[in-house]
Amino acid sequence: MRAAVLKKQFESVLGGHLDWQSRPMPELVPSGISGIGLPRGCLTEIIGPASSGRTSLLVAILAAATAREEVCALVDAEDTFDPLSAAAAGVRLPRLLWVRCSHNAEHALKAADLLIQGGGFGLVAMDLGDTPSNAARRISLTSWFRLRRGVEHTPTVLVTVARQSNARTCASLVLECARERVTWSGTRGTSQLLRGMRVRAGRPLGPTERSKTCSPVFTAVAI
């Protein structure tokens, strides 16, 4: 009763009805790709099939975070990270902690949990991109919920890369990567070169949506 009276007093002083239920929007940090922002203190999923540009997007996010002088951690479930490509993409390797889990998703989850509990990281990424789909689906919703609760109210951005969405409702943002086209140059058989890949990244389409023309598009340039 007293709370209701206090609310009314506040509203009369501030002049108008206040929305008491809504929570402030999380701060969005630049991902290195125009039009894509990642919420701090939330779980973001990047999904897509092989060669869809999801790793290029992750590396661009890591490069942007290390460029902001944040300390990042990459938990690599399948040990697929290529430091040479990442360094060429602008990732400051000395500011990156790389955990190589040698094909064990359970170890990856434990390591990510420890890193989040340890705190102090600007970005924690968990790469399950080559983890078999059935193994990734076996990760319980409780584990994802624990990770989400771990980063909540912290300045850490938690990003996962996988073939399909696994965290479901625990993810605040899901970015689905789809390759639009691959650019080759030169003549086949003699001087052909892989030039890059045009990727569209956006939230997955709902059952009633038809196209995602508003989704950001970026080109990953071959080294």
Binding site: E70, S85, L93, R95, G119, G120, V182
Partner: protein, 414 residues
């Protein structure tokens, strides 16, 4: 009661074994307060004998003198008037009589004063002690009076204490061997807490922790933990030690635990308002140790590229956050298969036409290559390969290569 040790060797270490109040009187002379040692050893002769025994054990050649005041003990030790082998006991109240035969040069008077006393025919303590104080004050001044006091063994003063060397070490001798790490953790915690408390009282921290375990099979097992920044967080240090011992367990039960800490000044740094967040160093060290216990040694750290053209070469280093100016470009990156997947490749017109490997199968739709690279041919571990970038009919882009051992898929572009 004071004792003076005059001789050669590590006199201060010997003195600190008997008293915490030690004065380094001269490079070859150390004076210590031995009041109270009578209750432990008995008569002053027994105290002196105990010191002499210990000196013989650690091979220090020393003359020991005990007296009621420090200066009398110093004069007796330097004069070497023995009441036993290398021992002088100056009886209380009879100092002047005991020190009387000593030469005046022991008091190190100024050359002018010594010359004056020589002319007067005064060469020994007893000669100076017999002179009237008023006459000495008139003719020789305060220095003369001070020399007379010393010669009579009446000078009294406080010792100028020497700080004991800062050694933060402790050990526990166990009554029965410890086999499991869990009971060992209690012993480690006890040592850690004691050493940390000693460091804290001196406003110090540690950046290196040394653990030496004596095993039942008479072997010695040593572990050293180095911290990135000085710390006194005993909980974190204990957990680090536990994780380290769990990863590298000793081969036999433990019968003695020795621990040492390197004392350093704690690092004080103020964080900036606009400085990006970074993990707390000691907490990060603990997190890394925990992750290392899960994923294995050498699999956590920052990647560092090696200055070579050999593909896939890098090394893992300890994370150290640098602050260099950044640049960001969206690059197409490779997902590396470790180890590379062996492939069967069907050639068509001298180029790969069909590729099959573990989880990969398809017709080559587009390709770029071959890119021929080689290196280290001047070493015992040369390498040479031809690389292709290919687009397969399964929809993915791969990098494949051929080397003398056969065809391999190195990774996929993603």
């Amino acid at each position: 009661m004071f004792a003076c040790l005059h001789g050669s060797g590590n006199l201060t270490a010997l003195a600190f074994e008997f008293s915490p109040l030690v004065e380094q009187t001269a490079p070859d002379t150390v004076t210590l307060d031995v009041s109270g040692l009578e209750r432990l050893f008995g008569f002053p002769q027994d105290v002196a004998a105990a010191i002499a025994r210990r000196a013989a054990e650690i091979r220090v050649k020393v003359h020991i003198a005990l007296a009621a005041n420090p200066d009398a003990a110093i004069c007796a030790a330097r004069g070497g008037v023995p009441s036993g082998p290398g021992i002088s006991i100056v009886p209380q109240g009879d100092e002047a009589k005991f020190l009387g035969p000593l030469p005046l040069t022991l008091l190190a008077p100024s050359p002018e004063l010594l010359e004056t006393l020589e002319r007067w025919g005064i060469r020994r303590f007893r000669d100076l002690a017999a002179l009237p104080p008023l006459g000495i004050a008139e003719r020789l001044g305060p220095e003369g009076l001070r020399l007379r006091e010393l010669a009579r063994g009446e000078a009294d003063r406080k010792l100028v204490p020497l700080d004991p060397p800062l050694e933060f070490e402790d050990q526990i001798e166990l009554e029965y061997p410890v086999e499991l790490l869990e009971p060992l953790a209690f012993l480690l915690a006890r040592l850690l807490n004691g050493l940390a408390a000693r460091l804290a009282t001196r406003a110090l921290a540690t950046d290196e922790l040394r653990l030496r375990l004596k095993l039942e099979n008479r072997a010695t097992y040593e572990r050293t933990l180095r911290l990135p920044v000085p710390s006194l967080d005993t909980k974190a240090l204990l957990k680090l030690l536990q994780l380290d011992l769990a990863a590298h367990p000793p081969e036999a039960p433990i019968v003695r635990v020795w621990m040492g800490m390197n004392p350093v000044k704690p690092r004080a740094a103020q964080g900036g308002l606009f400085v990006p967040i970074a993990p707390e160093p000691v907490k990060l060290e603990l997190t890394l140790a925990r992750i290392q216990a899960i994923v294995g040694e050498g699999r956590v750290g920052s990647p560092e590229l090696i200055d070579t053209h050999r593909p896939g070469e890098f090394r893992m280093v300890r994370p150290g956050w640098d602050r260099r100016s950044p640049f960001v470009v969206c690059q197409l990156v490779l997902r590396v298969f470790r180890p590379p997947r062996a492939a069967s490749v069907a050639m068509a017109s001298g180029q790969p036409g069909f590729v099959a490997a573990d989880g990969i199968r398809g017709k080559v739709l587009e390709l770029a290559g071959p890119w021929r690279t080689s290196g280290d041919w001047w070493t015992s571990n040369p390498w040479a390969r031809d690389e292709w970038d290919i687009a397969l009919s399964d929809g993915a882009l791969y990098r494949i290569y051929r080397e003398p051992r056969g065809w391999f898929v190195e990774g996929s572009y993603d």
